[in-house]
């Protein structure tokens, strides 16, 4: 689905991403972990077509990515909800823009609101929400669409353990049923292992691919309990440690 070839990115002459090459298959679910500030968000923005790499090229479905695609959904790290729209309006926004019919509309938003436990706040404005509620609105806004590429930028960081577990398993189901390509940026190693078929560890700034791991326990229904899970978990933690010690 996505192919990046030797992309690099500069902000004011600082190299943020360096010579990053990566191929993501259609229907794949990829988790990305890496030190804070290594360029994960920047990479997702490149995948979304929001920023252009300084050099290198990026293809989505074999065509060069020149501007945002209608079928990509991004849940940004800062939620980026519109303060002038209520929760409901924020969530409906992509449907409006994609000119989905009113009839199809209502059922979909209702289901999404319920799934994310947002029914009681749906007519509030974003500034009236708690952090976790805001984050769930951002997730809801991405999920009402029927995107072929879902980009999650630390989308569960403000959720309590129970809600997070529930959402993770809903998303896994969604991935397995719809085969939407999903990329999860996360700091939670267990989350990466639960959600990612493949796990990419990025190096410190300038960020690039440090190592990728295939996750054998992904298709295991009791993943979190398994032996392999714990092993890979420790391996990932160790890799992260390496990455960060290399830097110092």
């Amino acid at each position: 689905m996505i192919t990046s070839e030797n992309i690099s990115l500069y902000y004011n002459n600082t190299e943020i991403l360096s010579d990053l090459s990566l191929h993501i298959n259609a229907h794949e679910s990829l988790a990305i972990i890496g030190p804070s500030g290594c360029g994960k968000t920047s990479l997702l923005h490149i995948f979304a077509g929001l920023i252009k790499p300084t050099s290198g090229s990026i293809f989505v479905n074999h065509t060069p990515l020149l501007k945002p695609r209608r079928t990509t959904a991004l849940i940004s790290q800062h939620y980026s909800l519109l303060p002038w729209k209520t929760v409901f309006e924020n969530i409906c926004l992509p449907l409006h823009i994609q000119k989905v019919k009113r009839s199809a509309f209502d059922a979909r938003t209702k289901a999404t609101l319920t799934m994310l436990g947002l029914n009681h706040v749906k007519s509030k404005y974003p500034t009236e929400l708690s952090g976790g509620e805001q984050q769930r609105v951002a997730i809801a806004r991405a999920l009402v669409q029927t995107p072929d590429l879902l980009l999650f930028d630390e989308a569960f960081s403000s959720l309590d353990a129970i809600t997070r577990d529930r959402l993770q398993s809903e998303l896994k189901h969604l991935h397995q049923s719809t085969k939407t390509t999903m990329i999860f940026v996360t700091h939670d190693i267990e989350e990466a292992l639960y959600l990612g078929e493949r796990i990419l560890v990025m190096s410190t700034q300038p960020g690039t691919v440090f190592k990728t791991f295939v996750n054998p326990s992904y298709h295991n229904p009791d993943a979190k309990m398994s032996q392999g899970f714990h092993q890979l978990s420790n391996q990932l933690r160790q890799t992260l440690n390496e990455v960060m010690h290399d830097a110092n």
Partner: protein, 258 residues
């Protein structure tokens, strides 16, 4: 502030202003500051006479001129604020034209658009359109990129970007600009309604002034101010009705410093 408290606060302010006026009247003891009570009773008389007509013709000019200026000003302001191309090639021209004293061009306007209503309305619009351009441009320039993130990935067209992001986020400034415009257009009317018309509150006040009939003059001033105040309150109500989120961003605490 809901409607009731608006009503109350307006009455309160009118009272305070009247008292101050009365005190100044007593202190200065000059015909240039007439007795407010005499003025009000004169105002009532005049309203049943033809002052209402003067007011209405001015109101019409203000409304038309403001509408034209809003449409033009928002368009140009957005063009400059949103596109590097127009910012490079259009904004310097706006900057050069803005400080021009437009009032000096009334003769040319009268040449081009005749002595009638047109030239007056165009003068008013010409003056306030720049205020609106500058306000819109500046507020678009201060737009935050984060709002654009998600909506862009939804594949929004320019029109949708405008409708869902740009327009709502400049609305607060636009209301400010609208308030300022009303103040300005009232002042400009003084000048514009002096020509080739015997209708308009600007004409009425100037005419009373030259006849040094200060009571009439002040009655006219009170009338136009009440009109302006009415427009202000209208804007305020619309704002409270349609921009609840601004209030929310500000927080529930009414006073930042308390």
């Amino acid at each position: 502030m809901r409607i009731n408290s608006l009503k109350f606060s307006t009455l309160y302010a009118l009272l305070i202003v009247t008292v101050c006026w009365y005190v100044i009247h007593l202190l200065l003891n000059t015909p240039t500051v007439p007795d407010p009570l005499l003025t009000f009773s004169r105002l009532v008389n005049l309203l049943t006479d033809d002052l209402l007509l003067h007011l209405l013709s001015s109101l019409g000019r203000i409304v038309v001129a403001t509408s034209i200026a809003l449409i033009l000003g928002i368009t140009v302001g957005l063009m400059i604020g949103l596109s590097q191309f127009f910012n490079t090639y259009l904004s310097p021209i706006v900057f050069v034209l803005f400080p021009l004293p437009k009032i000096a061009f009334l003769p040319i306007l009268m040449l081009l658009f005749g002595l009638g209503n047109q030239s007056k309305i165009i003068l008013v619009a010409l003056i306030i359109v720049f205020q609106i351009i500058i306000t819109v441009k500046d507020s678009v320039m201060n737009l935050k990129k984060e709002y654009f993130l998600s909506i862009k990935t939804m594949g929004a067209t320019r029109i949708e970007l405008f409708k869902h992001i740009i327009f709502p986020s400049i609305l607060p400034s636009l209301f400010t600009a609208l308030r300022l415009s009303i103040g300005t257009s009232i002042s400009v009317l003084f000048f514009a309604e002096n020509y080739a018309t015997t209708f308009g509150i600007g004409y009425f006040i100037m005419d009373s002034w030259i006849r040094i009939d200060y009571i009439d003059m002040y009655a006219g001033i009170v009338a136009i101010s009440l009109l302006g105040l009415g427009l202000f309150l209208l804007i305020q109500l619309i704002e409270q009705r349609y921009l609840p989120w601004v209030q929310l961003e500000k927080g529930t605490q009414q006073s930042f410093l308390d």
